[in-house]
C-alpha cells in the first residue's frame, strides 16, 4: 500500500481533471466579471475648502474683497 501522497493535486482520471479545471475556470470568470470599473473623476486636482469658514465671516469680508478685486484686476 502506497502511503505516500502523490504530488499531483488533481485526480488521476483525465476526464475528472478536465471537469475540475473547467469548474475552476468558470468560477474564476464569475468572480472576475463582478469587478467594478473605476473612472477617473473630472474634479479639479485640489479642493481646498475649510468647512469651519462661517457665513458671518464671509459677509464681513465681502466689502473688502470687492475692493481688492478692483485694485488688482491683473491677477483676478
Amino acid at each position: 500500500m502506497n502511503l505516500m501522497h502523490s504530488n499531483r493535486d488533481f485526480p488521476a482520471n483525465p476526464l475528472i481533471g478536465k471537469a475540475w479545471f473547467t469548474t475552476c475556470a468558470m468560477a474564476s470568470a464569475a468572480l472576475l466579471s463582478g469587478c467594478v470599473t473605476v473612472n477617473a473623476p473630472s474634479k479639479p486636482i485640489v479642493i481646498q475648502l475649510d468647512i469651519n469658514i462661517t457665513q458671518q465671516v464671509v459677509y464681513r469680508l465681502s466689502a473688502d474683497a470687492g475692493k481688492t478685486i478692483d485694485t488688482n484686476k491683473d491677477i483676478f
Binding site: 473630472s42 479642493i47 475648502l49 464671509v58 474683497a65 484686476k73 491683473d74
Partner: protein, 130 residues
C-alpha cells in the same frame, strides 16, 4: 513772478499725478495669455479663491497659473491680516466674488467640486457666499 512759479509748480504736480494714474491703469488689465486662457476655458476659478488648470495643461499654462496664485496669496495674506481674518477665510470670500464675476464661457468650480461652464444665469456657489 510768484504767480508764474506757482503755475509752473501746478503743471508739474498735475503731470506727475497723470503719470501715476497711467501707471496704475496698466496694472488693471489682465496679461493677454491669461485673458486668452480664461476665455478658452483652459483655466478656471476654484471655490478656494485660486486659479486652476482645467483638464490637462501645458507647462507654460501651469507656470502662469502658479505665478498668478502666488500673487493672489500675497494679496490675500495682506488683506486678511488687515481684516483680522485667516488667509483661508479671505481667500474663500474672494472665491465667492471671483466666481460671481466670471464671464459666460469661463470655467468655475461648483459646490459639487466639478468644473462648470458659466452661462448668462447666476453661477452655482457655496451657500455661505453672499
Amino acid at each position: 513772478m510768484a504767480i508764474r512759479s506757482s503755475i509752473v509748480a501746478g503743471i508739474v504736480v498735475f503731470g506727475a499725478m497723470s503719470g501715476l494714474v497711467a501707471a496704475s491703469a496698466v496694472a488693471q488689465t489682465r496679461d493677454p495669455a491669461y485673458a486668452q486662457a480664461r476665455a478658452a476655458g483652459k483655466v478656471g476659478e476654484e471655490m478656494s479663491g485660486y486659479l486652476a488648470v482645467v483638464g490637462t495643461g501645458t507647462p507654460a499654462l501651469e507656470k502662469m497659473v502658479e505665478d498668478i496664485n502666488i500673487r493672489r496669496k500675497a494679496v490675500y495674506a495682506e488683506r486678511a491680516q488687515a481684516q483680522h481674518a485667516t488667509v483661508e477665510e479671505y481667500a474663500f470670500t474672494m472665491g465667492c466674488h471671483l466666481i460671481a464675476n466670471t464671464a459666460p464661457g469661463e470655467k468655475y468650480q461648483g459646490p459639487d467640486g466639478d468644473w462648470h461652464t458659466r452661462d448668462s444665469s447666476p453661477p452655482l456657489r457655496d451657500s455661505r457666499c453672499p
